[in-house]
């Protein structure tokens, strides 16, 4: 079954240049791809290439300007509530109420997904333990926790609602190498145990190669390649994914400049 089906998806933002001038800037210029159930697809892209915009569109946090997106057959823009039940997300910033504890943050947000007190009081310590969070600190305010620990709570928040599609937007950016490995290990485990489908946006080429079945390259709002790591290396005739990434985006850059002339 197809988990995610995106077709010619477009999104523009209005940018203000000074008080009177406005300009429409494309963030996604008609991208198409599918993700199969249980698959992990990584999207690589430089800053501003449109990764977070794609994640936000799939999370029903942005409205699109054209094309379509379906999650497990539900139209993301036509029936967002059906999609919301299936999706959760972890992004660069952990984003919590800083003075509240991790348990409090997780409890109220799980309530929005219909989980009762009975369920959360049992599941929250369980899930915190699984993400490697020191469970005895679950009553402490979020602001007292390190970034790595906050990120683990963010993972716990996403998993608590048992999403079938997990959107990960740079989940390990800014973590120390050890926390990074722990989080990556956990992502792998989630896939195996929960049979979740994952869209992982990252700058980290090793992470993409280690976790994903297929890798896409997003460049200036266009998905210029999508395939297994080996396919990409073969296509760009390089030994490493890094080589493929630079070949792909570098070539596109040259193309852009030629067009402008």
């Amino acid at each position: 079954m197809t988990a995610v089906e995106v077709s010619d998806l477009r999104k523009e933002f209005v940018r203000r240049d000074g008080p009177w001038r406005r300009r429409r800037v494309p963030a996604l210029c008609g991208i198409s791809f599918t993700i199969e159930r249980g698959e992990c697809v990584a999207v690589l892209g430089a800053n501003g290439s449109g990764k977070s915009t794609l994640v936000r569109l799939l999370a029903t946090l942005l409205l699109h300007d054209g094309g379509s997106a379906h999650v497990f057959g539900h139209d993301v823009f036509g029936d967002p509530r059906a999609v919301r039940r299936l999706v959760n997300r972890v992004s660069v910033e952990a984003s919590f109420f800083k003075k509240m504890s991790s348990t409090e943050n997780l409890s109220y947000s799980a309530r929005f997904y219909g989980m009762t007190r009975g369920e959360t009081s049992r599941r929250i310590p369980e899930i915190l333990e699984r993400v490697g969070f020191p469970v005895e600190r679950r009553g402490e305010a979020m602001e007292a926790l390190s970034r790595g620990m906050q990120q683990k709570v963010a993972l716990a928040r996403a998993l608590l609602t048992a999403p079938v599609l997990l959107l990960l937007d740079e989940p390990t950016t800014g973590l120390d190498p050890r926390s990074k490995l722990e989080v990556q290990e956990f992502i792998r485990e989630v896939r195996q145990i929960h049979d979740a489908t994952i869209l992982l946006c990252t700058h980290d080429l090793d992470e993409a190669e280690a976790l994903a079945d297929r890798i896409g390259i997003l460049h200036r709002g266009e998905l210029i390649a999508l395939g297994t790591a080996d396919e990409l290396k073969r296509r760009y005739e390089t030994e490493t994914l890094e080589g493929a990434f630079f070949a792909a985006t570098g070539r596109a850059l040259v193309d852009d400049e030629e067009e402008e002339d």
Binding site: V14, R81, R89, S95, M100, S109, F112, M115
Partner: protein, 277 residues
């Protein structure tokens, strides 16, 4: 049928979650709440002393009655401030903490979400209003022999529906203008109370303000509560204040929801929920 029951159950749990979140926040920021309450008491005193001041300056007034009239105005001012503040935080505070995207991507119907905020704001606002009234009334040793507190609470409860509806409209402002939206909420509060006769009868206002007073729920709330506390008017006797409140509430809540829905659409179209990452 079963599907509908399950959906309803899910929404009620979500509503409880909204209330729960606010309870956690009050608990975590309790010292701020206490400090803010002290400020409100001080502020109320500055207004309520005006009655004694007029007498001391040789004015002929019924000090006890005037003090009570001013106190009711000040309490309603504080109460409305709390309702608007909490509803505006639906967006503003969550935006600041960055949780807004997580809340807005949850499968919680927006009307239920806003209802949760409304219920909490009313419950919390009533506790604060009752404390404020009690403390200041005790300080001034107000006897209030006639007072019918029951009908005062009924009027306040019905007025609260309209207040929450208007609060939803102000809550949307931080979605449209992240930086200044919250301040616009204060403008709404101020304008609403000025035209509604917060410390004076509406008759003293210019004609155009009186016209606004007719559609302001605070006008009827102030009038009904004053009648109940000063003259002991029962629920039947303040019916002429209650029915306009019911009508205004029946318009304000759907209007508030619609305004919020549009604001949310606007924010999602232009990427204003949050911009980072």
């Amino acid at each position: 049928m079963r599907g509908a029951a399950a959906t309803l159950r899910g929404e009620l749990i979500g509503l409880a979650g909204v209330v729960e979140r606010n309870v956690y926040l009050v608990r975590r920021y309790i010292w701020w709440d206490i400090a803010f309450f002290v400020w409100t008491v001080a502020n109320t005193l500055t207004i309520v002393y005006i009655a004694k001041g007029i007498e001391a300056a040789g004015g002929q007034i019924d000090v006890e009655r005037t003090t009570t009239i001013l106190l009711i105005g000040a309490v309603i001012w504080a109460y409305l401030g709390i309702i608007f503040e909490i509803l505006t935080e639906t967006v503003a505070w969550e935006r600041w903490e960055g949780t807004i995207e997580y809340t807005f991507m949850a499968p919680l119907a927006r009307p239920v979400h806003l209802a949760g905020m409304g219920i909490f704001s009313v419950a919390y606002g009533v506790v604060r209003a009752v404390l404020l009234f009690g403390i200041v009334a005790a300080l001034f040793d107000l006897q209030l022999p006639e007072a019918n507190f029951w009908s005062a609470v009924v009027v306040l409860a019905i007025a609260s529906i309209s207040f929450v509806g208007i609060g939803m409209m102000t809550a949307v402002l931080p979605l449209i203008s992240p930086e200044k939206g919250v301040q616009l909420g204060f403008i709404a509060q101020g304008v609403l109370l000025v035209v509604s006769g917060v410390y004076y009868p509406v008759d003293v206002l210019p004609g155009w303000m009186q016209a606004l007073a007719v559609i302001s729920p605070a006008t009827y709330a102030l009038d009904g509560i004053r009648a109940a506390i000063l003259d002991g008017a029962g629920v039947g006797a303040v019916w002429h204040d209650i029915w306009p409140l019911i009508i205004i509430g029946a318009v304000a809540v759907p209007l508030g929801l619609e305004v919020f829905r549009r604001g949310e659409r606007h924010a999602k179209r232009h990427g204003k929920l949050k911009r980072s990452g």
